[in-house]
């Protein structure tokens, strides 16, 4: 299952980042290879979501040190939309509502931007409708949601399905799913997890950000990373997640207390 010879898709080295004046990431190292599913776990405030936002290029976050290579190229030099077109995908914890913008139109424009970057032909409205109807199956979503404004008035579960639908259309090489399980009931969780499993393949990598084991019951990770205070504290196999589930996060604090704080490098 773990093929250390598979191509590296994402390589994060010594990543430091802050939001406004608040340093949050203090040297994250992480390597994602094709075919791998990684889970990053940790408490609220450990920097998990920040890591996902920094990777996607959110303008509120500033990288102060370190590097991120995406298929060998400098990811941090790219605009968020360029990252997306090249196949990086962020599934949001709280997908935002965009009143007035039709979901179908949004999905079509996004899909075509990605297709164009891959040198594929853009889909007209008819061809796209066929595609989107096929991909709706992945998340068992009601086509009626296509005619609404982006996420407007969607329930928590519907928003998450819409995220996975986008993932199914954009066919990313690296998918980062930020707390995709939060706010989902058990059926919705099963559907969303089923979608992620369906989309995970030998050529792409998935980074699940979560603090509950229950998502990992449905999606089996190859690696589990425990994040605390802006770094990856420990890495292991899927059994590490079970250990966390059993022991809670308190041991993380103890381990953290033994750490010498490393000075923050300034870029």
């Amino acid at each position: 299952m773990i093929r250390s010879e598979a191509p590296v898709l994402l390589e994060i080295r010594g990543l430091h980042a802050r939001v406004e004046d608040q340093p949050i990431l203090h040297g994250v190292d992480l390597t994602l290879r094709a075919g791998e599913i990684h889970a990053v776990m940790g408490r609220n405030g450990s920097g998990k979501s920040t890591l996902s936002k920094v990777l996607a290029g959110h303008p509120a976050y500033t990288v102060t040190a370190g590097s991120v290579l995406y298929r060998g190229d400098d990811l941090l030099a790219l605009e968020p939309e360029q990252r997306a077109r090249l196949g990086l995908f962020l599934g949001f914890q709280y997908p935002i509502e965009i009143p007035g913008v039709s979901n179908l139109e949004f999905l079509r424009v996004a899909t075509n931007a990605r297709r164009q970057a891959r040198g594929e032909e853009e889909l007209d409205t008819f061809a796209f409708e066929d595609l989107v109807r096929e991909r709706l199956q992945v998340v068992q979503m009601d086509p009626a949601f296509l005619d609404r404004s982006v996420n407007e008035g969607f329930s928590g579960g519907e928003k998450k399905r819409n995220e996975i639908l986008q993932m199914a259309l954009l066919e990313p090489l690296v998918a980062i799913l930020d707390e995709t399980d939060s706010g989902l009931d058990i059926d919705a969780l099963r559907i969303v997890a089923g979608g992620v499993n369906h989309l995970a393949g030998p050529d792409n990598a998935t980074l699940l950000i979560t603090h509950y084991q229950r998502l990992l019951d449905a999606i089996t990770p190859d690696f589990v990373h425990v994040m605390a205070a802006g770094r990856i504290l420990r890495t292991g196999g899927k059994e590490l997640a079970l250990e966390l589930e059993e022991r809670g996060y308190d041991w993380v604090d103890e381990e953290l207390a033994r750490w010498q704080p490393t000075p923050v490098e300034v870029a």
Binding site: A56, P59, E81, A84, I98, S102, A113, Q166
Partner: protein, 478 residues
């Protein structure tokens, strides 16, 4: 809010060129003699001269309104030229006789007039400075009994219609700018749709200001007789000057029993530069009179230009079951100021009105909605619905809403909804993170915001308006 969105700067104005054409102008300044001179130049009948003179004398006693949320230096009315016209070789009989330079100008503006290139389903009246230079499809329309052309021609050819309707919706002493217009108006469009006729094509007037020191005072009059209907579109552009040009137009619409008039405007006058230098001062009085039972008047406006906009297209709903509508998108950027809205005056029983106003303010601009809904005692069962939404882009722009409601009839229903939103950095990031560029993301959200209004525009122009808005916001964000 990210400074990126705050730095909204608009794309260079692409209609800013000046046509170098020989123009006949009168001397600057306004007096009774000037009013007489304008009337004489146009060889007008006496009733019109008297109309002008009465308006002029009323204007002298009036004060410029100062209640709008607008700030601008005092206008010197003696420093304006009140009549300018491209020099013509005689009165043109056909397009072949129109100065090719003028045809070329309209070509450049995307309004081809020549037989081969003209728009296939839209009749166009092209107004250059103060004068109508050509009208397409005039003959074809005449076959249906539709009169469409310059108001000057109409004064010559149908004086009885002008005398019957001119000034009956907007009286010459209605307001300061309407009085000024009534005294000195030079040209504009006249539309007459006879009883029972559905106008077979869209009608459109394209206004082009060319001279730098000339005021533009058009007068438009549209009459739809019993059961008639028409859709009319007005477009406007002007060159870039670092001085301000005054534009004070009057538009009057009359709808008799069962008639329907749809009036759409895409206003793209020069707005001045990013520091607020130059641009058009747009003081316009537009009013429709639903005179007949079951008549309907609908205003749709997309206001993107002008340094100052003072404009309230209104409906007087006199007929029983008459309907008034106002759909507006007003976009301001840089230092633009707009105070715009509508008045719905309900007189007829069961008259209904709908107001949908979308204001978008970017840069350091100020955008105000001002609207009056008035229900007279006799308007039993009248209904109004108003929705006023404002969208702010950046953190330096202002949006205001001033709704006035006056109701003298207890059996009436008035609803008013208002909202203010802002394009948030998180919404933009969400779209970007799906591969949609920053500017496209802004424009998707803006056109989504405006959709209710754009849906009201004639098909050909809805896409135009969408493009125009994106253009205004393009290049904009960095």
């Amino acid at each position: 809010m990210s400074s990126a969105v705050g730095d909204l700067v608009s794309q260079p104005y692409k209609y800013g060129f000046v046509t170098d054409i020989e123009t006949e102008k009168i001397a600057k300044g306004l007096s009774e003699d000037v009013v007489r001179l304008i009337s004489a130049k146009k060889e007008e009948p006496d009733f019109l001269l008297q109309f002008r003179l009465r308006a002029y004398r009323q204007w002298l006693r009036m004060r410029e309104p100062d209640w709008a949320a607008l700030g601008y230096p005092k206008i010197d009315y003696q420093d304006i030229i009140y009549y300018a016209a491209p020099k013509e070789r005689e009165k043109k009989q056909s397009l072949d006789e129109v100065d090719p330079l003028l045809l070329e100008t309209f070509d450049k503006l995307g309004i081809p007039l020549s037989e081969q290139k003209r728009l296939s389903n839209v009749a166009v009246d092209a107004v250059f400075d103060s004068v109508s230079i050509a009208t397409t499809y005039k003959e074809k329309l005449a076959e249906h009994g539709v009169i469409f052309g310059s108001i000057s021609d109409a004064v010559r050819e149908h004086p009885e219609l002008i005398e019957r309707y001119l000034g009956t919706v907007v009286p010459s002493n209605d307001n300061f700018f309407a009085a000024l217009n009534s005294a000195v108006f030079s040209d504009g469009s006249f539309v007459f749709i006879p009883r029972g006729v559905v106008c077979p094509m869209e009608l459109s007037t394209y206004f082009r200001i060319n001279s730098g020191d000339t005021g533009q005072f058009e007068r438009t009059l549209i009459v739809a007789e019993e059961g008639a209907s028409v859709s009319y579109l007005e477009g406007c552009t002007a060159p870039m000057f670092d001085t301000n040009q005054l534009h004070a137009a009057v538009v009057e619409l009359v709808a008799l029993d069962d008639a329907s008039i749809k009036y759409s405007t895409v206003q793209n006058w020069y707005a001045g530069d990013e520091n607020g230098v130059g641009g058009i001062y747009n003081f316009v009085t537009k009013r429709g009179h639903c005179r007949g039972d079951r008549s309907r008047i609908s205003w749709t406006q997309v206001e993107t230009g002008s340094a100052i906009t003072w404009k309230y297209p209104s409906c007087v709903l006199q007929g029983v079951d008459s309907v008034g509508e106002f759909y507006s998108v007003a976009l301001t950027n840089h230092r633009q100021q707009a105070d715009t809205g509508t008045k719905m005056i309900h007189v007829g029983p069961r008259s209904r009105s709908t107001i949908v106003s979308k204001g978008i303010s970017a840069g350091h601009s100020s955008n105000s909605y001002r609207g009056l809904v008035q229900i007279a005692p006799q308007a039993v069962g009248a209904r109004n619905y108003s929705q006023c939404d404002s969208m702010l882009i950046g953190d330096q722009a202002a949006a205001n809403t001033y709704p006035y409601i006056r109701c003298q009839q207890s059996n009436a229903s008035i609803e008013h909804e208002a909202s203010t939103s802002r394009i948030s950095a998180d919404q933009l990031f969400y779209l970007q993170s799906r591969g949609i560029g920053f500017e496209e993301a802004v424009s998707m959200m803006v056109s989504g915001f405006c959709r209710d209004v754009f849906n009201q525009l004639p098909m050909e122009f809805a896409a135009e308006a969408d493009k125009l808005l994106s253009l205004k916001l393009e290049g904009s964000v960095g």
